[in-house]
């Protein structure tokens, strides 16, 4: 039973730099994932402007009938978001873990170019473990 469907990372100018599938029913093709990412980037920006609360930093959670979308934006402008099962818990925690993994295995890789698509095996590996752990944790309850 999959709880996390997929994970996206968007750089601060709105480009998709990472996309990973964790067992959604069918894999999204590259064009769709790029489209979704830039759409979310814009919606997130617009939501900041439209929000009635002062000092709003954008949408954090979008709930739909068949999925939830949790988004975390770092102070440097990089956005991380996961699409998961409706009502899945602990996604803020997972996003924070993902952010830490990103700083460790992407940014510290001297051959990673900032703002460019992420191709780091170590990152992939640790990410899968983190998502897996999340799954085990939920099943264990």
């Amino acid at each position: 039973m999959a709880t996390v469907y997929n994970l996206f990372i968007i750089n601060k100018s709105g480009g998709l730099i990472f996309y990973k599938d964790y067992g959604s029913a069918e894999r999204m093709d590259t064009n769709d994932s790029l489209r979704l990412a830039s759409l979310w980037h814009s919606m997130h920006a617009i939501s900041q402007q439209l929000s009635p609360t002062i000092g709003c930093f954008g949408i954090e959670l979008l709930q739909a009938d068949n999925f939830d979308l949790h988004c975390f934006q770092s102070l440097t402008g990089t956005k991380f978001f996961v699409v998961c099962e409706p009502g899945a818990q602990h996604m803020e925690g997972l996003l924070k873990v993902i952010y830490e993994l990103y700083t460790d295995f992407v940014l510290k890789n001297p051959f990673y170019e900032m703002e460019m698509p992420i191709r780091c095996e170590l990152f992939d590996l640790h990410l899968s473990q983190a998502v897996q752990k999340e799954r085990v944790f939920i099943l264990g309850r």
């Binding site: 770092s74 402008g77 830490e100 700083t103 940014l107 510290k108």
Partner: protein, 186 residues
């Protein structure tokens, strides 16, 4: 009213991996030495160290934010305090003191209590004008730029030059607003 933020980097420092201090100091020394050999001009070495620091800073800031549980700072004063107390502690194991604010609150001095980069270092006469720790200025400049603050960071006192402390001057040039450039004609 102020948000609760950690006032010290002790917790973060306890959680990061550490290396032998001597290895760190000697590695940095080797880098500076190599730059002097390659670039010959002391001024160029200062520039290069600053640039290297900048490249580190733009990446380091995310790790800092991810692991220190710092939230948005309300003003530049708070930013300076956070760098001095949390940032320096987390990455170098030392803390700095923030002093000498100017009237506008846009520039201040960071005075280092200890400097782990300079162990064993004695500057020869040929290196007059070398800011041995210039990399730190670059790191701060790079890190702050990623959170939309343009700054200028320079050394004003350096014990290697015979001064009585290590003092960096951090000057806020401008705060770039975090808005998207919404211009209709573009």
């Amino acid at each position: 009213m102020a948000p609760v933020i950690p006032r010290s980097g002790d917790a973060a420092f306890a959680n990061v991996e550490r290396v032998n201090a001597e290895l760190f100091t000697l590695t940095y020394g080797a880098i500076v030495r190599q730059l002097l050999t390659d670039l010959e001009e002391v001024e160029e070495v200062n520039k290069q160290l600053d640039q290297m620091g900048y490249n580190i800073g733009v990446r380091l800031i995310d790790e800092f934010l991810a692991k220190s549980n710092i939230s948005r700072c309300v003003d530049f004063k708070e930013t300076a305090e956070v760098i001095a107390k949390v940032g320096f502690k987390m990455f170098l194991g030392v803390t700095a003191t923030v002093t000498n604010w100017d009237a506008e609150g846009t520039s201040c001095s960071l005075v280092l209590s200890e400097n782990p980069l300079v162990g064993f270092v004695e500057l020869p006469d040929t290196c007059h004008g070398l800011y041995y720790c210039n990399i730190l200025c670059g790191v701060i400049r790079g890190a702050l730029e990623m959170v939309s603050m343009k700054t200028e960071v320079t050394w004003v006192r350096d014990m290697l030059h015979g001064d009585d402390a290590y003092e960096m001057r951090v000057k806020l040039i401008k705060q770039v607003p975090e808005e998207y450039p919404y211009k209709d004609d573009e």
